[in-house]
């Protein structure tokens, strides 16, 4: 799995650097993207009400969902009203967030994923492991085997990518042409006009938002933009950051309904599901700028080694590590460990097209999580360390004690095994022992020696005697 991840993220990373490099004003564009998002978030209630009015004025229907359950119920209700037992879906991580497919299945409605990678994940009863490349953890041989068992009527397929894609295409085409209802996510929605936008690479999304009679789009409330012209900024930032393309192959925009053309019924579900809590936190709020490009996943050394499933959250990688705990709350046992899953190397911040300072939010959330955890052994150890560090003489004394105390641990010239909480260190690395003389002792000794003492005041120390 690590090899698959390294290959794919490495390739996207290199391509991204290229297409970003050819934009001379990339930094200003990032600033603009961040500022536009921040402005919209600052007026979010007004923008959403404006969006609602615009969508309704163009013949669409708007629904508000406080949480996942309300959103799932809304989709199921619309499906049931149209007696639909199967619907098609455009890849949408928001729908994964609310566990839509499972909820629909329980009510006898089968949702068919139409994005190729999502289809692979769905057919293998797996879950997505990347925001943009959900089946990143699967290789070609695994997909060949899967299609040979799950796509009947295709015979024995070879592992040729074109043959595999062809089989999926034939399967999906039949679904596009016969299914009455579709569910999509939303990349952006424009408050001014009520225009909703989905960008994708395969054309399946375009099929889903144009062919069925009924279209339901689910959007996190942070996806709203104020004006149509704002789209131009994000249409530059998003594809270059996500798929490392200058433009997405398919950019679909629709506004309400048009009689005789496209879906004749359009529902827009505005999903909160914890987002207003994130908005209320002035330091965590920048997380809501996220446009789900996944650039942070592709550069993250932790994601590359651990894979998306290790996060135990629908939003993996660096963005997931800050978004999930904020959406779910710090009391969630898995979510509150996620901010710890980073070495704080900062690569994610450098590539984020809307300049979310992920490392800083991670640090902020670690403190929030610790407050929730209360007085743990780690918290006590930290308090002890702080007590020692609060005075220079205490630290000096502690170092002297440690020099004596480390004796039993030193093997040759290294410590190869540490006890307790610190054992993780020596699992794969040696630790060098404390030196016989610390810097402080050296500094004092040096100050006491006559030659050095006179040298201290002498700015031209060229001829100074070395200690």
């Amino acid at each position: 799995m690590r090899a698959n991840l390294r290959n794919v993220t490495g390739a996207i990373r290199a391509k991204r650097a290229n297409v970003v490099g050819e934009m001379p004003h990339w930094e200003q564009l990032r600033d603009l993207g961040a500022a536009l998002k921040d402005d919209t978030l600052a007026d979010l209630p007004d923008r959403l009400l404006q969006l609602e009015r615009s969508v309704q004025a163009r013949g669409g229907q708007v629904h508000w969902a406080r949480d996942a359950r309300e959103a799932r119920d809304l989709v199921a209700l619309i499906a049931e009203q149209h007696a639909v037992t199967e619907l098609i879906k455009v890849k949408s991580i928001t729908s994964d967030e609310i566990e839509l497919n499972l909820a629909l299945e329980e009510r006898g409605i089968h949702a068919v994923e139409t994005d190729l990678a999502e289809l692979i994940v769905q057919l293998s009863k797996d879950s997505p492991s990347h925001i943009l490349v959900p089946a990143i953890h699967r290789n070609r041989a695994e997909i060949q085997e899967l299609f040979n068992t799950e796509l009947p009527g295709e015979g024995q397929l070879s592992d040729d990518p074109a043959a595999l894609a062809g089989a999926a295409r034939r399967y999906l085409r039949q679904k596009f042409l016969t299914t009455k209802m579709a569910v999509s996510g939303v990349n952006f929605a424009v408050a001014e006009t009520g225009t909703v936008c989905v960008v994708e690479s395969e054309g399946n999304g375009r099929m889903c938002v144009t062919l069925p009679e009924v279209l339901v789009s689910i959007m996190g409330i942070e996806k709203v933009l104020e004006k149509v012209e704002d789209l131009s900024v994000f249409m530059e930032l998003l594809p270059r950051s996500s798929t490392a393309e200058r433009m997405n192959p398919y950019n679909s925009f629709w506004t309400g309904v048009t009689p005789g053309d496209g879906p004749q019924e359009f529902h827009l579900i505005l999903l909160d599901n914890g987002r207003t809590n994130v908005l209320a936190d002035e330091f965590g709020r920048q997380t809501l700028r996220c446009i789900r490009c996944s650039a942070c996943l592709n550069v993250c050394p932790v994601y590359e080694r651990a894979g998306g499933h290790a996060y135990g959250s629908v939003y993996p990688g660096p963005i997931g590590a800050i978004l999930t705990p904020q959406l779910l709350g710090m009391y969630d046992k898995n979510a509150n460990t996620l901010p710890g899953a980073s070495s704080l190397c900062g690569a994610c911040y450098d590539v984020c097209p809307v300049k979310i300072n992920i490392p800083q939010v991670l640090i902020y959330l670690r403190s929030e999580a610790n407050v929730q955890k209360g007085l743990t052994a780690e918290a006590l150890a930290m308090k002890g360390m702080k007590f020692v560090m609060a005075e220079g003489w205490r630290f000096e004394g502690a170092l002297k004690l440690a020099r004596v105390g480390q004796g039993p641990l030193v093997r040759g010239d290294a410590i190869t095994s540490l006890p307790g909480l610190l054992g993780g260190w020596t699992q794969s690395r040696d630790l060098q022992p404390l030196p016989k003389e610390g810097f402080r002792e050296w500094w004092k000794r040096r100050g006491q020696e006559p030659a050095a003492a006179s040298g201290e005041a002498d700015t031209s120390s060229e001829s100074k005697e070395r200690v």
Binding site: G340, L344, A390, G392, G424, R429
Partner: protein
Amino acid sequence: MHIDLFLTCVNDALFPQTGQATVRLLERLGHTVGFNPRQTCCGQMHLNTGYRDDALDLARKFVGDFRDAEVVVMPSGSCAAMVRELYPQAAQWAGDEALLREMEALAPRVFELSEFLVNRLGVTDVGAYYPHRVTYHPTCHAMRGLRVGDAPLRLLRQVRGMTLLELAGAEECCGFGGTFAVKNPDVSAAMLTDKTRHILDTGAEACTAGDNSCLLHIGGGLSRLRSGTRTVHLAEILASTEQEVYA
């Protein structure tokens, strides 16, 4: 110029030679160096592990210890980034306006060693001699936090007798990350494995960097592999001369 040295707790405890080298180097360049023995730790470990209040206590102490300094120089990119970037942020999180103002006043006078030499003093040739094959690992906090850019490389390129070898995947994190290395040992070790492999591939005798925390981790990995390749802090290379090799 009178320079206040902030040694950092890791150097104080484990790498006195880095502090000695920093002092000698700065003195050789004609400056006086002071060491306030009250200093301890910048609080980075506390803040990064999520103990904001404890970190702020140590941050207040740092500000108190160095309030009157003309410049504070430290042989550590991550501690410099902590003081300059994260102190103000942590003060904001705590809503301490007075502390925030003090930190913002101090921040422009705080430097990591290589950026101090190159950007503040305008020196790239410090008269160093170091007859070894060396590769350089840019540490995350210096590179992405402080934006020291190629300052360390410009210094290293002027070192006489030294062969500077290019490191593949140089900009990728070594996997240390403070308590991350202890809390997520498997992922940290996987990152370290790639880093040490790339270092060994260069054929270098030593890997250098501006941060002993990263070098402690990388050096620990190289030691476990019994590779014979060492780690050495940038300051020790820069302090070395034909008369005296410090590292």
